[in-house]
Amino acid sequence: MEATIEVTELRKRFGLTMALDGLSFTVQPGRVTGFVGPNGAGKSTTMRIILGLDSVDEGAAYVGGRKYTTLRHPLTHVGSLLDAAALQPSRTARNHLLWLAHSQGLNGQRVDEMIELTGLRSAARRRAGGYSLGMRQRLGIAAALLADPPILILDEPFNGLDPEGIVWMRSLLRSLAAQGRAILVSSHLMSELEDTATHLVVIGRGRLVAETSVADLIARASGDLVALRTTARTEAMTVLASAGATVAATGTETLTVSGLPAERIVALLGEAGVPFSEVAGHRATLEEAYMELTRDTVEYRAEADVTP
């Protein structure tokens, strides 16, 4: 089976609210694809629809080219973690994994392997009700990986993890993607996906905002801003402005220039004999890029929240 997730023209309405409004995107194998958007953007709804849990008004979702509900042993095709707290509190972690394994015709051996992988061995025979959120996330990952699926769908798996856990989760997701799996990871905090996701699906208000690689997104957000350090601020501003650039002073010795590439700035300043000590392309963080991208949808949401 081709390890892909394909979502086409999803529309879903909850009462008067349009939760999903023509959402389409594709998740490819071998990558971690971040699924981001503000809270309420429709990430969890989309994931539930992919897993056949929620119905759609229009459109369809396919995993490996098929509808989820037609899969035999679906957990061998798609592993998912929707809500780490979805546990029977009095059942032990191992028994939670055991019934899941039995439902796929698997036995306890695979359960023990997953307990080992997620570092839950010492706690596996304790009641899941006593688990911290971080431990529940690990248990949720163990459940998602139980039947060794080529596709993973994880909703906010970083929630509640301590810094060590975040590092573990990132490296685990990277290595799972490197094995050729398709991984869709949602988060409402872009920073969590830094160094993990190589591709992004950004949604807002149930619509696709961007479907892009992380590298492209940052390059675009960085735009053509160039940071300049010079002791002759006024001269530099005059030279560059007359060449058509927009120049802003950001400090006594620093300027931000837009409208000219860095090479042209260096050439102009050299011709005019203006001294400068540093010319650097400004690189936006993923967080900045994301904020830039979703500003409109967030603002709209804030308005929409006021008027019910």
Binding site: Q28, L53, R72, L82, Q88, A147, A182
Partner: protein, 512 residues
């Protein structure tokens, strides 16, 4: 980049895996296993408490046992019976017949009538006619053709069998041919019509045969909220027979009158008890009945009064088996692992039904055996019933418990919350039962509740039989359900099936 190739090979697909998963789910929650044990235990404990409450110890005059602690006679089928009548008999040896005309059948006024007693009308099931009986012991096999107070001619045999003849005939004939006994009736003594016949296997060559008369207790029931009381008094009927003729070989020269089953009424009865003969007319009086015993006291299923309490525990368990999954969001994990939602509910129902049946069977069998043993050792004359009936009562109780748990499961899936499901199941299953059994409702509404609500399933516990030929208070407080045992169980099963079907429709339609 090529896609990941899984290294894990899944096992067999389908329903068995699903059942195994649901069983693993069930057995790994300790609270649910405890609830199961509690349900079984509570059935036994409530039975023990009620048995302790019905302790009977009394010593009659001169150290004799209380009359009530002596079990009554049982018929050829092992069922408790009444067998008291006045009998004018001779021994018939081999084949033969006896013919009479019932000249009159009338009520005999009691010595001291109570206010309100009806002393002018004959009891509808007063009987006068011909009988051939295995011997004169109570409960022995018989066949009889008789005229009744207001139910015409009847052919009856071995207590539980009854066949109606005409309402106008006065002439009766009873014929023995080998083991076959045949009753005939006639309006004029010349045109004879067969009413019925039966084989009484193992009938001795020489059997007492002749005329009999008897009249049952007159019972009135007064019901008030929470209790009922039956009051009754013995009645006596007098009958005269003429045109007596016989064929075959008869043992003694004349008729010998005696009371079978000398009850207090027989001994202290009014004049006319003895057999008098005037010309060709024989007159005698008797009281009692030749019929299966009725009434709800000391039934075997009295040991299972704790069923409803165990049921409540299993209702809570059954609804929680699914409602906790909704409460925790675990239902999404379940349905992601098994997208065939109908099958998920079916697997849950089978696991829950199987487990609660086994545990219910242990509970009801233990309660039945232990509590009835204790009742008997306390001097309570627990009615004897056929082994098949005992098995049906015990196993049926387990089926009721299992079906009720599955009903609660379905309700849990419909409501997706435990509280609503538990309340619904208790209101439909337990409440009607208690209202009807504890005499909190008049008989009419009580019987309707036990026909249409799932509480009808409790009918499977009824060991008593209802007989058209016996007047009794066939009402829920007296141990009689309006539906037959299996009919009641079918009503409960139908409710469970409909609830489960509704749950399947809803779980398929709703977002998880």
């Amino acid at each position: 980049m090529t896609s990941y190739t899984p290294t894990v090979t899944p096992g067999r697909d389908g329903f068995p895996a699903l059942i195994r998963a649901e069983w693993t789910k069930f057995r790994t929650v300790r609270g649910w296993l405890i609830a199961l044990a509690v349900a079984a235990l509570i059935v036994v404990l409530v039975g023990l408490v009620s048995a302790a409450g019905s302790h009977r110890s009394c010593v009659g005059p001169h150290g004799r046992a209380c009359p009530a602690s002596v079990p009554g006679p049982t018929g050829p089928g092992g069922e408790p019976v009444s067998d008291s009548f006045y009998f004018a008999h001779q021994n018939l040896v081999g084949d033969g017949s006896v013919t009479v005309r019932v000249a009159s059948l009338a009520v005999v006024k009691p010595d001291s009538p109570q206010p309100g007693d009806d002393t002018t009308h004959i009891e509808p099931w007063a009987k006068a006619g011909l009988i051939i009986k295995q011997n004169t012991r109570q409960g022995s096999a018989y066949a009889a053709i008789m005229l009744t107070g207001s139910h015409g001619v009847r052919m009856q045999y071995d207590f539980t069998h009854d066949r109606a003849g005409s309402s106008t005939a006065r002439w009766l004939r009873l014929v023995r041919s080998g083991d076959t006994l045949t009753g005939y009736e006639s309006a004029d003594g010349t045109q004879w019509t067969k009413v019925g016949s039966t084989h009484l296997n193992g009938l001795p060559k020489s059997v007492p045969a002749g005329m009999f008369v008897t009249s049952p207790q007159h019972e009135t029931v007064s019901q008030s909220v929470g209790s009922f009381s039956t009051s009754g008094f013995g009645t006596t009927a007098a009958a005269s027979f003429d045109n007596v003729s016989r064929t075959g070989s008869w043992g003694q020269p004349g008729w010998h009158g005696s009371a079978v089953g000398d009850g207090p009424e027989m001994i202290q009865g009014p004049d006319g008890h003895g057999l008098t003969q005037s010309g060709g007319t024989f007159t005698m009086a008797g009281s009692g009945d030749i019929a299966p015993a009725t009434g709800g006291d000391n039934t075997v299923e009295g040991a299972l009064t704790g069923t409803f309490a165990g049921l409540i525990v299993l209702i809570v368990l059954g609804s929680m088996f699914v409602s906790t999954e909704y409460r925790r969001g675990l239902i999404r994990t379940t349905l992601a692992a098994s997208p065939h939602r109908g099958r998920v509910l079916a697997a849950k129902a089978l696991v829950l039904g199987g487990v609660t049946f086994v545990v219910g069977l242990v509970g009801s069998a233990l309660a039945f055996l232990i509590v009835n043993k204790i009742r008997r050792s306390n001097g309570v004359p627990v009615q004897q019933v056929a082994t098949g009936t005992e098995v049906r009562v015990v196993v049926g109780t387990a089926v009721v418990l299992a079906l009720s748990a599955v009903f609660a499961l379905a309700a849990g899936a419909v409501f997706r919350r435990g509280a609503g499901a538990v309340v619904t199941a208790i209101v439909l299953l337990v409440l009607p039962y208690i209202l009807a059994i504890a005499s909190l409702l008049p008989v009419g509404p009580a019987q309707w509740l036990l026909r249409i609500t799932p509480a009808a399933g409790f009918a499977i516990q009824q060991s008593l039989q209802q007989y058209a030929q016996v007047s009794a208070w066939y009402a829920p407080p007296n141990g009689y359900f309006p539906l037959p045992p299996w009919g009641g169980l079918v009503v409960l099963a139908a409710w469970t099936a409909v609830a489960l079907g509704l749950a399947v429709v809803l779980i398929r339609r709703r977002d998880a």
